[in-house]
């Protein structure tokens, strides 16, 4: 958190003043344009987006492997594959990994890559800060997973890690320490990323790109970033209290001293519920891009789509205690939260029905992205509906902490968020990498995953209603849970096959693309609607040769198509003529930098220090201070470049480059 407090300040500190100082003569701005160094030092939002995506995919394999272990253990009664202790660690790590290290960073990958493109900007507002966010997230994720080796066992308290079970007395290994510090780091990364992306969207839109001309994806991400902005500090507080309890002997969850164990629950879920919308809204945004494109129709009811997203964002703040219906919060609170929760179904339903209305009357191309999108509409609804049955508080007292809940959240998380992200990967892959993913394999992937997913999580509804509790390392043959657990475990295997198909698809599409002489898919392979398709694939480093001027929502589409008197689209321009060529050469871009990585590397080391020994923190602190110092005094560009006069090359200036890259705006933001 210290970081969060300090960080944005480093910018103004050095803002554009004075002569370039090269501290100690080391680490001049790196010049590398390719090779691993270009990735390590990049401040390009697209490269950062790709790294977010790659890291998230890797963590997905880790989290998925943990899920497979869970399912193998539960495939038969009295399973002995995992000990109770290990099982508790595995499911905890699975939940935390999937939520914080898979879905969130994958959504961040899309946000990073696409938001600047979709609003017509050359980069995010603070490019170095953006790189810092990524490295901090990665550091947090690796730190967290290092607990397997260093912590004497990973966290074993469940992903919401209720107090006082998370206390030292009940969870004596360092696992929970890794949980609290690791999430703190990843959370700081999200918070910084949120500030960055909000500023980008509010400040750096192309001329004419009013807020209500922005693509729905941009809107949903904007809502997500606001949710992050306001919910991250809450879990920050909770995690600090936990760390102070465990490391410094504070009493926040020390019940013997009169502490209230529900404090943690409230803080966690005040964050936690907005968090679940943080997880789903990016996927909603993705689906809202794909369905209109593939249906060849504009999104149905754009204002409703936008406002329902905002409404979900706001309502998400008023429902957190629905996770606590059984914790004894008093009947009036239960009633109030029960009702507020139910009504979240209203704006969500609007989205579902508007997607269906978008498809209605369309000419839908059922390629892989569209299949996944349709899958989201159908599967998320199932999860949403079970959510509504939880919202009915008396019913929830029979459901909570059973597999019925596990079914609910996998339907929304897997069937909603993850399928949507897969859709997005297939959809934007050509834009990002300049090659298409194989559509046939993609469809195979989709159908296997759809079947596997329903086989895995469908039976969990039944198991839950039959009374199977979650987080139990095994069950009894007499419980009657065996059959459906077998089915679920088999289903998980099917999902694993689907994931392998996906991985194979990435590989084989790439290798046959290479063999075929790297054919370019063109700027606009899907005949799509938003700005990122008006530039070549893969997106050039400077994004836009010239910043386009926007006249309408779906501006790019309207440059391609007009409407005839029956309201049908007719082509008015060929795509090749209107897309940018990507050959501008004199666009000034922010220079790469080592410091984001250095700064971010210091923090996990401090984290180890907090957990093990204060002395370990010292090198981390030094690294951090060095990073901070270097960051603040780093010249804006490579030395010798652009150094027209003595006052140029202001320290910390590259983040101003971004401001400079911002297109001139023409109207004031309407933010509520």
């Amino acid at each position: 958190m210290a970081l969060v407090e300090r960080e944005p300040l480093a910018l103004p500190t050095g803002a554009g003043t004075g002569v370039a100082i090269e501290p100690l003569g080391v680490l001049a701005r790196p010049r590398t344009k390719d090779g691993w160094r270009s990735w390590v030092t990049t401040v390009d939002h697209k490269k950062i987006g790709i790294m977010y995506g790659a890291a998230a995919l890797l963590f997905f394999l880790v989290g998925g492997f943990e899920a497979m272990l869970i399912r193998i253990q539960l495939a038969q009664p009295n399973g002995t594959v995992l000990s109770a202790d290990l099982f508790n660690q595995v499911y905890t790590m699975h939940g935390v990994t999937m939520v914080f290290l898979v879905i969130m960073p994958m959504a961040a990958a899309f946000a990073n890559y696409l938001l600047p493109l979709q609003v017509g900007a050359r980069d995010v507002a603070f490019p170095r800060l953006n790189a810092f966010s990524f490295w901090l997230f990665l550091g947090g994720g690796v730190f967290f997973n290092s607990s397997w080796l260093l912590g004497g066992g990973a966290a074993d308290c469940g992903w919401f890690c209720y107090a006082p079970n998370s206390g030292v007395a009940f969870s004596p290994t360092h696992g929970v320490d890794f949980y609290s510090v690791g999430l703190q780091l990843a959370g700081a990364a999200s918070l910084i990323g949120a500030v960055n992306l909000i500023v980008t969207v509010l400040n750096m839109r192309a001329p004419g790109m009013t807020l209500f001309r922005m693509p729905v994806f941009t809107w949903m991400q904007l809502v997500v970033q606001f949710l992050l902005l306001f919910s991250m500090p809450v879990i920050t507080v909770a995690l600090f209290l936990l760390t102070f309890d465990r490391s410094f002997g504070a009493n926040f969850f020390n019940v013997e001293q009169g502490a209230d164990p529900l404090l943690w629950q409230h803080l966690f879920w005040i964050f936690g519920h907005p968090e679940v919308y943080i997880l789903i809204l990016p996927s909603f945004g993705i689906v809202s891009e794909i369905i209109p494109t593939m249906s060849r129709k504009p999104i149905y009811g754009y204002p409703f789509m936008v406002f329902s997203g905002i409404a979900i964002g706001f309502m998400g703040w008023g429902v957190w205690a629905h996770h606590m219906f059984a914790s004894g919060i008093g009947p009036i609170s239960v009633a109030a939260f029960s009702i507020s929760t139910m009504f979240i179904a209203v704006p969500t339903g609007v989205k579902i029905l508007n997607w269906m209305a978008t498809m209605w009357g369309g000419k839908i191309t059922f390629n892989t992205p569209m299949l996944f999108s349709a899958g989201v509409v159908a599967m998320f609804t199932i999860g949403g509906l079970s959510g509504v049955t939880h919202a009915v508080a008396p019913a929830d007292t029979q459901q909570t902490d059973t597999y019925y809940i596990v079914a609910h959240f996998h339907y929304v998380l897997f069937g909603g968020a993850l399928l949507g992200l897969f859709a997005g990967m297939y959809f934007w892959w050509p834009k990002v990498f300049g090659l298409m993913l194989n559509d046939r394999l993609g469809k195979v992937h989709f159908w296997i995953i759809l079947v596997g997913f329903n086989l895995t999580f469908g039976p969990m509804h039944i198991l839950g209603l039959q009374g199977m509790s979650r987080r139990i390392q095994t069950y009894q043959p007499t419980d009657g849970f065996t059959l459906w657990n077998r089915v679920a475990s088999f289903g998980a295997l099917v999902i694993a096959v689907a994931v392998l198909v996906f991985l194979y698809n990435i590989y084989s599409s790439w290798s046959s693309w290479k063999k075929a002489g790297r054919p370019n898919p063109g700027a606009d392979p899907w005949d799509a609607r938003s700005l990122e398709w008006s530039i070549p694939s893969p997106a050039p480093e400077h994004n836009f040769d010239f910043v386009p001027e926007i006249h309408a929502q779906d501006d790019f589409w309207h440059r391609k198509y007009g409407e005839d008197d029956k309201g049908r689209a007719v082509r008015i321009a060929s795509t090749e003529d209107i897309v940018q060529k990507g050959d501008a050469t004199d666009v000034h871009l922010p220079s790469p930098s080592f410091y984001p990585l250095i700064l971010a590397a210091g923090l996990p080391i401090i984290g180890y220090g907090v957990i093990f020994n204060r002395f370990i923190a010292i090198p981390g602190l030094l690294l951090f201070l060095f990073g901070l110092f270097g960051w603040a005094f780093e010249p804006a560009t490579e030395p010798g470049d652009h150094a027209e006069d003595g006052t140029h090359g202001g320290t910390g200036g590259d983040d101003h480059d971004a401001a400079a890259l911002a297109a001139p705006g023409n109207e004031e933001a309407h933010v509520g």
Partner: protein
């Protein structure tokens, strides 16, 4: 990036820039006035500590009075010292959103904790 870019990008205070220096003089005076008011308010807050000088009937309203004083100070600082009064409304909205969410959410949470009721005792 040119020098000018840096300069204009950070010049800030668009409104101010339009007026001349005399505006700043008057702002300075405003600032001092505000500070004086803040000092008085703080003094009033402190007075509530010396309960003995107040009739008992008033003491009950101390909490309310303190909250009003506090909010006034909060408003004065953020509106004048932090320029929200003159700055773009979007900044006001962003900050207000944070404050409103914080106040509402945490008040609700405290309510759920039975914070406003009597002492919580483990029955039986």
């Amino acid at each position: 990036m040119s020098v000018e870019t840096v300069a204009t990008a950070t010049a800030g205070h668009p409104e101010h820039a339009e007026h001349g220096a005399e505006v700043h003089e008057s702002h300075d005076r405003t600032y001092v006035k505000i500070a004086a008011i803040l000092a008085v308010l703080t003094f009033m807050e402190m007075l509530t500590y010396f309960e003995s000088i107040f009739p008992d009937a008033i003491e009950r309203y101390f909490a309310l009075a303190l909250l009003v004083l506090m909010s006034t100070k909060f408003y004065l600082i953020s509106a004048y010292f932090m320029h929200l009064r003159w700055d773009k409304p979007v900044l006001r909205r962003v900050f207000l959103t944070g404050i409103v969410i914080a106040v509402v959410v945490y008040l609700v949470a405290l309510t759920v904790f039975n914070f406003w009721n009597g002492p919580e005792v483990m029955p039986r």
